[in-house]
């Protein structure tokens, strides 16, 4: 079948259209989309172990794409169920939320599988547009609209830089195809080509929110409706970073002399920018935003220093842990409102020991305290860094990682050593599942590291 490689994307698009056309209630629309995601996941997994091209090589479904798309679909499914729950909680009656997520996910899947800058642009833009609608979903809310405008600006600027970069690359090499760029002789067009690559990189950095291009990110995260923030922080950044990792490793894998200084500098800046930002936050959405900036830094370092394997291990574990963090954020319901203040966590460990323990595991896992899963994700990146000879960068990254220990421990301490000031409503089912699975991954994954490494080896090569 000619459509086989692109079948998962088609399935996601079809469910998005169904959800939109059926004018279903939010809950029903979410169910339709979740079913579609399940089908798409099956289709993705059926492509495992094959390398298939579509549209003459514009689109490729290889092991890396399959792995990332599987994680993408699962984390998007969490965002959909978070959203459905939130819409019911806020008494929204419009059903297009799930459909918009599905449209955006279809774009992401195209971007992750893109084998040419053309397809990549298409995918990223298809991802971006519904995302802006989602950001401004609370049309009557001031913050949401403002965040929407900021998201538009960031998207436009990044796409502009990005397109300019691609046009320079095309002018230099006469192709936008990854496979042909990879084998092209780049030495003849060297300084000019790097300008193109730099613009593309800057575009990606803005989209993913790497320091120093991250200034829009906390504002948008804060203003966007809470489940959309979760979608940004888990699924969207996963897609953008994975697409970027492919650009770094496949077409431009041979200009390591450029990637190493650029990406390692940005990684260190992001880790410190994120870590220092974390220290002063009181709003949990902004807190999450800085956690994302910080881990984004390590993800690009992983791509630069360790290739696909380190990148996949890091981003996989990190996405699971961040999903836990966002689920914590979404479960802070006080009375009839969703609180955004970190201080709501105060005393919750005393009020409910089990809940406190799970929250603590999510926070400590994200901090990367050994022996929790987060540590091993960092460890794989450090190890890769040493092997590529970037010892100083590794030391800086490690120090940056330890800095936020102060606030993470403070949160854990506040949970247990003060009396609760607010009474939290019980966490809704989807958030509970996300928190439990995140905490369980934190604790139990280290026992299966060998197996995980083996799995990644199989799926990446």
């Amino acid at each position: 079948m000619i459509f086989k490689p692109i079948l998962p994307e088609l399935l996601v698009l079809a469910t998005a259209l169904t959800a939109l056309m059926s004018q279903a209630s939010p809950r029903k629309a979410a169910r339709i989309v979740l079913a579609g995601f399940a089908l798409a996941l099956t289709a993705v997994l059926s492509l495992k172990g094959q390398k298939l091209f579509f549209q003459g090589g514009l689109f490729v479904s290889d092991a890396f794409a399959v792995t990332i798309k599987s994680v993408l679909l699962v984390s998007a499914a969490f965002s959909v169920s978070f959203g459905a729950d939130w819409l019911a909680y806020k008494r929204f009656s419009r059903g297009e939320y799930a459909a918009l997520i599905a449209f955006s996910v279809a774009g992401m899947m195209l971007a992750v599988s893109a084998n040419s800058f053309l397809m990549l642009f298409l995918g990223l833009e298809a991802m971006q547009t519904p995302l802006i609608f989602l950001t401004a979903y609370k049309r009557h809310g001031e913050r949401s609209t403002e965040a929407g405008i900021k998201a538009v600006m960031a998207a436009l600027i990044s796409s502009g830089l990005w397109l300019f970069g691609v046009s320079v690359i095309y002018a230099c090499l006469g192709t936008a195809d990854f496979a042909r760029i990879a084998v092209a002789d780049k030495s003849a067009v060297m300084p000019a080509l790097l300008i193109g690559v730099s613009f593309v990189t800057a575009g990606f950095f803005i989209k993913a929110g790497q320091s120093p291009f991250h200034l829009w990110l906390p504002d948008v995260y804060e203003g966007a409706p809470a489940p959309v923030t979760a979608f940004y922080g888990t699924t969207v950044r996963l897609a953008v970073l994975s697409a970027f990792a492919r650009v770094v490793i496949v077409p431009f894998g041979d200009i390591g002399f450029y990637w190493h200084p650029v990406l390692e500098t940005v990684a260190v800046l992001s880790v410190f920018g994120g870590a220092l930002g974390l220290l002063v936050q009181t709003n949990i959405k902004r807190f999450a935003a800085y956690a994302v900036v910080m881990t984004n830094g390590i993800a690009v370092a992983a791509a630069a220093m360790g290739g696909f394997a380190a990148f996949v291990l890091f981003i996989g574990i990190n996405t699971v842990l961040l999903t836990g963090l966002f689920a914590v954020m979404l479960s802070l319901r006080v009375g009839g409102d969703l609180s955004e203040e970190l201080k709501v966590l105060k005393g919750q460990g005393r009020a409910n020991a089990e809940r406190g323990a799970l929250y603590s595991l999510v926070f400590l896992g994200l901090l990367g305290l050994p022996p929790l899963a987060g540590f091993w994700a960092y460890f794989a990146v450090w190890k890769a860094g040493f092997e590529s000879g970037a010892a100083v960068v590794v030391v800086l990254l490690a120090i940056g990682n330890i800095l936020p220990a102060y606030v993470f421990l403070k949160i854990v301490r506040q949970m247990y050593f003060f009396d609760p000031s607010d009474e939290l409503s019980p966490a809704p089912e989807p958030m509970k599942i996300a928190i439990v699975s995140s905490a369980a991954t934190s604790v139990f994954l280290p026992f299966f590291l060998g197996g995980v490494g083996h799995l990644i080896e199989q799926t990446v090569w």
């Binding site: 305290l369 450090w382 190890k383 040493f386 030391v395 490690a398 120090i399 247990y416 590291l449 995980v452």
Partner: protein
Amino acid sequence: MPHFSLIFIMLAMPLLGALFLLFIRGDEQRTAGNAYAVSMLISGCVFLTALTAWAFFGAHKNDVFSAVFVDMPTFKVSMRVGMDALTLFFVVLISFLTLLSVFISRKNVKTMVREYMFLTLIAESFLLTAVCARDLFLFYAAFEAAVIPLFLLIALWGVERRAVTPYRFGLFAIIGSVFLLTGVFVLYHQAGSSDFDVVEAAAFTPFCRKLIFGLFVGAMAFKAPLFPFHFWLTDSLSEAPAAAGVLISGVYSKLIFYAFVRFVIPISGAEIEPALPFLCGWALATALYGALIADVQDDIRSIAGFAHLTQTGLLALGLFCLTPESVRGMLFLSAAQAVSMAAFLLACGALYQRVGYVQNIVGVLSVFPYLGAVFFLSSLALLAFPPMPAFTGQFLIFQAAFAQNKVFAALGLAAVMLLYVAFFKHFSRFLFGGAGEIIVSGNDLGKRERTAAVLLGAVFLYLALTPSSVFRLIAAAVDPLFEQG
């Protein structure tokens, strides 16, 4: 390299036991009783395994006790665990102290006993993994991992100022770990592998040796700790529940000395010699500071905290004298001190449980003759008053210090004397009565506690009378390091 061996059983037993504890159901009292029984059984078995390893040590060399722990070929990670003399010394110490701390907590811990035992066993597993690791990163990971359960133990079962103490403990541990991690990175980077065998055989440039030495000293300042980074230790010892205090003072704060002996001594050469007198001075400053502050305390438990700080200073002195004798003395003192501290905390806990507080009480001996006697003897042990076992260790350290610089030895002795003053000043009042809150009545030590006291007394006697059996093990650990260097 086998993927399974006896050492796995030893490392996994506490973890499995901890998991098992989670499945205990029933009303609170029954849960507590069962959790206690399970933990005693598990920690007892671990201790027996450690003793077995000691008995067989040398006969089978390393075969039975080494295995691959973490294997990730994708990332070229293969971490080994194994046992040599140095490891064995710490394994016996850790497993004994855990057994003791579980035993103590039967009476001391009143609430959430199951969770308490769970954390203690988890901590034991991490600490054992840290000393059994034959890989730099595994050592680091396990060492840091032990912070979480210890943090929670102080946080959830501590007394009075428990909002501050555990936080301080965690923070200082993490600052120390920045140094430790950087040191581990440098070792790894220079040796090209994180495996101990490779690291020990690797050649390091003089600059690297200095750097590694400096970083480990930095880690030690926070983790041992040395003055002025000691607040967490003295606070923890006076705030933490007795059993957690045993693990923190006896094992956690000693592991950095282990790291020093393991990584730094074998590679350090003549470059670091100029720094040693200053470091000895720092160690002595810590010892003197601890003793002086102990003099002005009036709470017996904070005196013990500062006495521990003084001893830590002396341990550091032993380490920085850097002779085979002083390092041997250091190791022996650390074990003797750990057991003494455990005995002292046991007595403290027993008193606390009867009276509800230990500050400013007088006339213990008239009400609790046995308890008072145990208290007195354990305090003497903590002070390293001859013929208590800790004295043997101190003696070796002073001997080495004397050979290097007479002033060092004099200052060290002065610290010890000051410490005696601090204790004896309070003891007559504390034991026989005077101005203060007089205890009216109470039950003296029960059968279980008396048994514990007698057993501990037997351990003291053993250590004091036949230190040679322990010294053989210590010598097997220490001497090769100096032969190479």
